[in-house]
Amino acid sequence: MELRLENLTKIFTNKTGIETTAVSELDITIESGTLVGLLGPSGCGKSTTLFMIAGLEKPTGGKIFFGDDDVTKLAPEKRGIGLVFQNYALYPHMTVYNNILFPLENLDVPREEAIERVKEMANLVGIGTLLDRKPSQLSGGQQQRVAIARALVKKPRVLLLDEPLSNLDARLRLQMREEIKRIQRETGITTIFVTHDQEEAMSISDKMVVLDFGVKQQYDSPQQMYTDPDNLFVAKFLGNPPINTFEAEVKKGYMMINGDKFMKFDVPDGLYDIGMRPENFRATEDGFKVAIKDIFHIGRDTMIHFDFNGVNVRALVDSDDIEEKQKFVNLSIKPNRVYMFDKKTGEVVSHG
């Protein structure tokens, strides 16, 4: 089922009357059956957006559509959503079985079918043998699975996940990431996944929305967003190690770095914010010569630190192309991997 947000806005007003815009005029159309990651730094309004879709938070303005139905004013229980909370919110006094069964108790489902569905869901998420346990007797990952089963058992139209992996340790997180992806594929349910971890969002999502201060920055597939960021914020937010950013002037069509001509660009002369990802550098004979400030050999790759216009820049190059006590290196980078952003708006001006 398609999910559409139109000009969705949420403004919180505190007791002294100071207004905080949590979400500002969000316009997103989520295609049926996709897994969309809502990504942004903490406090950017991603959870608020999720809660508005769930109906737990009332929007200040704008509309929410599930397919063709306008659900903006609908109570949460009438929307047909499944929500997985950050700390799972499993009822501690009920067994796993009863926790999963609970949503069905309030629906018009025959008992046999309800039990059948609980078992089916439990098997789907891989907790079929743990039905008699209490949540406190389960590990974090297992609790997570129960929470997903509980959200899915009533066959919701949309599945919402609020930072579902943030309470898990690093290894389990990787595993649950794949699990969520698999469960989503198998059920084909439209899913929204909130996270502040860009790597997590990129690996799990079909498409991502990056938010900053409640404003949509970009809505695209993860790879597209990585190679084609719309603005400086998105470029900086994605990628590990993070993108190098520094200022550079374009004079007569040439980008000037350390007083030399670096590369020819077809943009108006002026000062720009430049972004170059560390892994896009190559050590080649015909490259741009830089003095190595610091060098770290990390097996397959070598991290080189040097200065571009007075800013420390890192490059991740193949270890084969570099010798251990090298003082200078010639680096090259593909023109379409050099991102130029407008100094004022942060919008991308050109790459390549």
């Binding site: 769930a54 737990l56 949460p76 229980e77 929500l83 919110a89 009822y91 609970f102 309030n106 009533k154």
Partner: protein
């Protein structure tokens, strides 16, 4: 004007800083002195505190509380066990005629108006107490649960309502008892006026005065004990309900759970440890009921001129200490040990039952 406020604020902030700095420096001086004393003691090998073992120090610090407890709690308990084996103990001369194991218990158990209603009273201490316990405790716990759930869900004037419901807790039992007695007066009492307003024939209907039948005066007593114990229960339940994570309710809302079910399947199980605690303590409290009866009916424990008595077990015991049978301490000790046994058994039963129902 704004300037004046600002400068006043600044002035007070300055005073605050000065005071804080003053105490900070005092603390510094004290710490210094402490350090020097410590050094001095270490140097001359005088530091006895470090030579004491840990348990001895703990005992020393606990001793004030332990002494008070020993005099006023432990000794009377031990004494009760000692007294109960005395035969014909005379308090004034401090003499006994011999020892007996069950004699005093038999005296209590066969006494008319303890278990078996005496022919001329029509009620007994145990029956009265059991009626009060088994009606007032469940009713007040359920009422408190509903009221606290309701209080939690109202938004405007929340603090106001919480204060109102908490007021009975801080008021004096005896004083309120007198007010109750006045409210239930036969002539011109508020309750009778109220009933006649609805067309009930209540002229001169006696509740707590002569002519009141057993069930009417018992009703007033139970009503009063429910009302006076409600406040504390509401406060405990309300705080525990407010401590429940909101996400459970959000999850329930998304699953279209009706309100009644949220209450019975989520709220009540999640505060069940508190409900159990309240249940146990109020059963114990209700068994020891004493001052509400005195407040409503006086030390006789009955409305004037009736052929029954509303006295509780504690009142029954008390008559051997400072009442019609004063001085018969051995019988009083036997009575209180029987009360202790009843409470112990009931509490154990409750603990057994709760094992399945209480979710920690």
């Amino acid at each position: 004007m704004a300037d004046l406020i600002n400068s006043t604020k600044k002035f007070f902030r300055k005073i605050g800083t000065v005071i804080k700095t003053f105490f900070w420096n005092i603390r510094r001086v004290l710490n210094n002195i402490k350090k020097r004393i410590g050094k001095f003691l270490d140097k001359h090998n005088l530091n006895f505190a470090s030579k004491f073992p840990g348990w001895a120090k703990a005992l020393l610090y606990l001793s004030p509380a332990l002494i008070v407890l020993a005099i006023f709690t432990f000794w009377p308990i031990i004494n009760a066990f000692a007294l109960v084996v005395y035969e014909n103990y005379n308090m004034t001369t401090d003499t006994i005629t011999g020892y007996t194991v069950f004699g005093n218990f038999i005296t209590v158990l066969t006494d008319e108006s303890f278990i078996v209603p005496a022919s001329h009273t029509g009620s007994s201490a145990v029956i009265n107490t059991l009626i009060i316990v088994f009606i007032s405790v469940p009713v007040s716990v359920l009422l408190a649960l509903f009221i606290s759930a309701a209080l939690n869900s109202i938004k405007p004037l929340k603090g106001f309502f919480q204060t109102i419901y908490f007021l009975p807790y801080v008021t004096n039992t005896i004083a309120i008892g007198l007010v109750f007695a006045y409210m239930f007066k036969a002539d011109g009492g508020l309750v009778n006026e109220f009933l006649s307003f609805f067309g009930v024939q209540s002229d001169g209907l006696s509740w707590v005065e002569s002519g009141a039948v057993y069930w009417r005066s018992m009703f007033v007593l139970i009503f009063y004990s429910i009302w006076s114990t409600l406040a504390f229960k509401i406060m405990v339940f309300l705080t525990s309900i407010q401590g429940i994570d909101k996400q459970y309710y959000q999850a329930a809302a998304i699953d279209a759970t009706p309100r009644s079910k949220i209450f019975s399947r989520i709220t009540v199980p999640l505060i069940s440890p508190m409900i159990f605690y309240i249940l146990v303590t109020s059963v114990i409290g209700a068994f020891k009921i004493y001052n509400s009866i005195v407040a409503l009916f006086g030390t006789s424990g009955a409305p004037a001129g009736v052929d029954y008595n509303l006295q509780s077990i504690v009142m029954y015991i008390y008559q051997f200490i400072d009442g019609s049978n004063a001085g018969n301490l051995s019988v009083a000790a036997a009575g209180s040990l029987i009360l202790f046994a009843i409470i112990l058994v009931l509490t154990l039963v409750q603990m057994q039952v709760s094992k399945k129902r209480v979710h920690y």
